[in-house]
């Protein structure tokens, strides 16, 4: 669908000036073929988003079905003027920023190792992907037990006198560690794909010119890998901003460790307050869209699969 705007200049550039009949029919067929998929997409993603937007303008609590009314932007004022929301928002930002930064560093290291591994390359790659293959909730449970005094080896070894999951700072740190452990392999995988883009000749030439390993990494590899890096960072940032399962399992949001997603879930599903909950969902949607926009517009991340021309 997106490609129509880009298809125009291509059509023009083959010198005919106008689109031929055959081309027109072909394009029409193309639209017809993808229409069912597009309609399904609109039905399953577009409609819920619009419905959530509609709900966010109402006072609508399932517990008080008779008191449903249109309240305009009241819910937005309530949520944006609320301490719990901002506490959750900053927790989310912190978890996102710290975990993505560390994941990037670790993922890059892992990618370099996997790329250069001489012995057992297949084994190294498989083993490093294991954390990503484990269901997050299952992994989170094992982290929770590990950090619970008496049953947990980590809690007993590192903080014999405390219960780290019951304090704000240490609980957040544990959430971040769990996130990093889980998704570093994913980051490494994307970065490794980027590493494959760097031609060996270029590195050899740089070495001939006297560039050391660090210079080769910063001056040759990183610029070549930029599209892959930005895609990896974009994906992970969006993912991390929606952090939910790790927090629910590890702390259930106690000690002010709720993320915005956990808060939205609590208000929507537990509290049955469709108005407030939908408002939060819409705000999260806006935040996620904003992050994606910043990456695409300011840093020039490309959508995966599109070539350089696709970027603007």
């Amino acid at each position: 669908m997106v490609q129509t705007s880009q298809a125009e200049p291509v059509a023009v550039s083959d010198g005919k000036g106008a689109i031929s009949e055959g081309k027109k029919a072909e394009r029409k067929l193309g639209w017809l073929l993808c229409a069912p998929a597009a309609l399904v997409m609109i039905a399953v993603t577009g409609w819920p988003i619009l419905y959530a937007l509609w709900l966010s303008f109402q006072r609508f609590d399932l517990k008080y079905p008779d008191q449903r009314e249109f309240v305009g932007l009241d819910n937005y004022l309530t949520v944006l003027g609320n301490g719990y929301w901002w506490s959750a928002f900053w927790v989310t930002v912190l978890v996102t920023a710290v975990s993505v930064a560390i994941e990037f560093a670790l993922g890059m290291g892992l990618a370099l190792i996997m790329h250069r591994a001489l012995v057992g390359r297949g084994l190294v790659r498989t083993v490093s992907l294991i954390p990503y293959g484990i269901v997050t909730v299952v992994a989170a449970f094992s982290w929770r037990y590990a950090w619970t005094p008496d049953t947990g080896y980590l809690a007993n070894a590192i903080t014999p006198d405390g219960a780290p999951l019951t304090e704000h700072a240490s609980a957040l740190a544990i959430v971040i560690v769990a996130e990093i452990w889980k998704t570093t392999p994913f980051m490494a995988l994307l970065l490794m794909a980027g590493l494959a883009l760097v031609p060996d000749d270029l590195l050899k030439a740089a070495a001939m010119d006297g560039a050391g390993p660090w210079q080769r990494f910063v001056k040759v590899m990183l610029p070549m890998m930029k599209p892959a890096i930005l895609v990896a960072l974009l994906f992970r940032t969006l993912d991390a901003f929606r952090v939910f399962d790790n927090i629910v399992v590890l702390t259930s949001g106690a000690q002010d460790t709720s993320s915005v997603s956990v808060l939205a879930y609590n208000n929507l599903i537990k509290g049955l307050n469709l108005g407030i909950g939908s408002t939060m969902s819409v705000l999260i949607f806006i935040a996620v869209a904003l992050i994606a926009w910043i990456f695409v517009k300011l840093f020039g991340a490309a959508a995966p699969g599109s070539d350089d021309k696709g970027r603007r």
Partner: protein, 432 residues
């Protein structure tokens, strides 16, 4: 094919019923797969669907009722998730969608107001109401009442007791302060001294807080469930909780402990006291018989000297879904499930305290429940959490402000509570 399967279910012996039901379900799923119609798996006109928390021996009550009904109704027991939040969420989602597949609902005592106000459950009237109230203890009955109308029949109740080590303290402490100072003395003497307490940020913390507030003669929410009261007794209760949090007599994991964690902690032998429901008793008997011999029980310590505590009631009630297509059968089935005979069976087999007073004096119950007199005493002078549609929100807001208990600032926390509880009651504001 479906119809025949169901007919056979009525009369046939158990084994055959099983087989035909499986065949019917299989058949039904084939029909569903081939034709795109709304399909309900193998249920006859007299099937009553019971949605209840997992209880090990509940099926036997169901079977007994089905046998007694002689084909008039056939209860099918569907298990809800194990945790209360999961149970409520499943039922609420389906009810909000007007699901007709649920007939009898198992409601935690705090959900009555919410389900009634949302028009999800039917009122109990006339003969049904009289039946549900006959011989039922007043406290549990109140938990099933919303705005003067009965919306459920009490199935089982629960009160917390104080469990203490008779070999360490000859007499149970009468007040909260006494319990803490005794524990501190035991600590100095190098003896087991923990007070096992469920301090995690969840419903359980609200239960403790409500017990303390009502023990101090106060109230959190007005009787009509519309106004946050949070009076001076709340400040006292907050002080008591903070004192426990800062006394140095609780385990490190107290702030993350729920009922079962507290039970396990007590069973390690490092605790002198435990505030918990009676389910800890059979477990102790089975796993730590040596310890169990030395364990005594008492009503929870009070807050004011000379005034007995008011232990907050737990437990569950049976309600009938508004969307049920066979309410008459459902009411009858629910009455059967909570009959004195079945309550007695559940008390003995599953350890859940009955709501009908006469059951306590049954010799078989007496044997399984050596603490029955203490339970009954606490049940007759109970602390009841105010029935309100916003119970879940109130609980979430309160437990958030109560955790961790060591960081409570009594006066300030109480002031905040008044606003936030009021907001929760008005379904304004944000749940943490």
């Amino acid at each position: 094919m479906l119809g025949r399967g169901c007919d056979q279910q009525l009369g046939g012996p158990t084994v055959r019923v099983r087989r035909t039901r499986r065949a019917a379900v299989l058949g039904a799923s084939l029909v569903c797969a081939s034709v795109l119609t709304a399909c309900v798996p193998a249920s006859g006109a007299n099937t009553v669907n019971l949605y209840s928390a997992p209880e090990e021996n509940l099926q036997q009550n169901v079977d007994r009722c089905n046998a007694q009904a002689g084909g008039r109704y056939q209860i099918v027991y569907h298990k809800l998730p194990r945790d209360a939040d999961g149970q409520r969420e499943q039922m609420v989602r389906r009810l909000a969608a007007g699901d007709t597949g649920m007939d009898i609902l198992y409601l935690d005592v705090t959900w009555t107001g919410e389900f009634a106000e949302a028009n999800w459950i039917r009122e109990w009237t006339g003969e049904n109401k009289a039946d549900a109230a006959r011989g039922t203890l007043q406290g549990p009955l109140e938990t099933a009442t919303w705005q003067g109308k009965l919306y459920a029949a009490p199935k089982n109740t629960n009160v917390q007791l104080l469990w203490y080590r008779k070999d360490l303290v000859p007499e149970p402490p009468k007040t909260w302060a006494e319990m803490i100072s005794t524990a501190q003395r035991l600590k100095q003497e190098g003896k087991p001294h923990w007070i096992s307490f469920t301090g995690a940020q969840y419903e359980g913390l609200y239960v403790h807080f409500n017990t303390l507030v009502q023990s101090a003669g106060g109230q959190l929410i007005s009787d009509d469930g519309k106004r946050a009261v949070v009076d001076a007794s709340a400040v006292q209760a907050l002080q008591a909780l903070r004192d426990l949090g800062t006394a140095g007599v609780t385990s490190a994991s107290m702030n993350n402990a729920k009922e079962d964690d507290a039970r396990q902690e007590f069973e390690t032998g490092q605790s002198a006291f435990e505030v918990n429901w009676p389910f800890v008793y059979p477990s102790m008997q089975e796993k730590k018989p040596d310890l169990a011999r030395n364990v005594g029980w008492a009503r929870l310590p009070g807050l004011l000297p000379g005034v007995p505590s008011k232990s907050t009631i737990g437990g569950a009630n049976y309600a009938i879904s508004s969307y049920s297509t066979k309410p008459d059968l459902a009411f009858d089935a629910a009455k059967c499930l909570r009959s004195p005979e079945n309550q007695k069976f559940s008390a003995i087999k599953d350890g859940v305290p009955p709501t009908i007073e006469s059951v306590y004096s049954d010799p078989e119950v007496a044997a399984e429940y050596p603490m029955r007199d203490t339970i009954l005493e606490a049940l007759k002078d109970p602390g009841v959490r105010s029935v309100t549609p916003a119970a879940q929100n109130v609980s979430t807001v309160l437990s958030n402000m109560l955790s961790p208990i060591a960081e409570i600032d009594p006066q300030r926390t109480a002031d905040r509570m008044r606003t936030e509880v009021q907001n929760a009651l008005d379904s304004k504001g944000v749940m943490p």
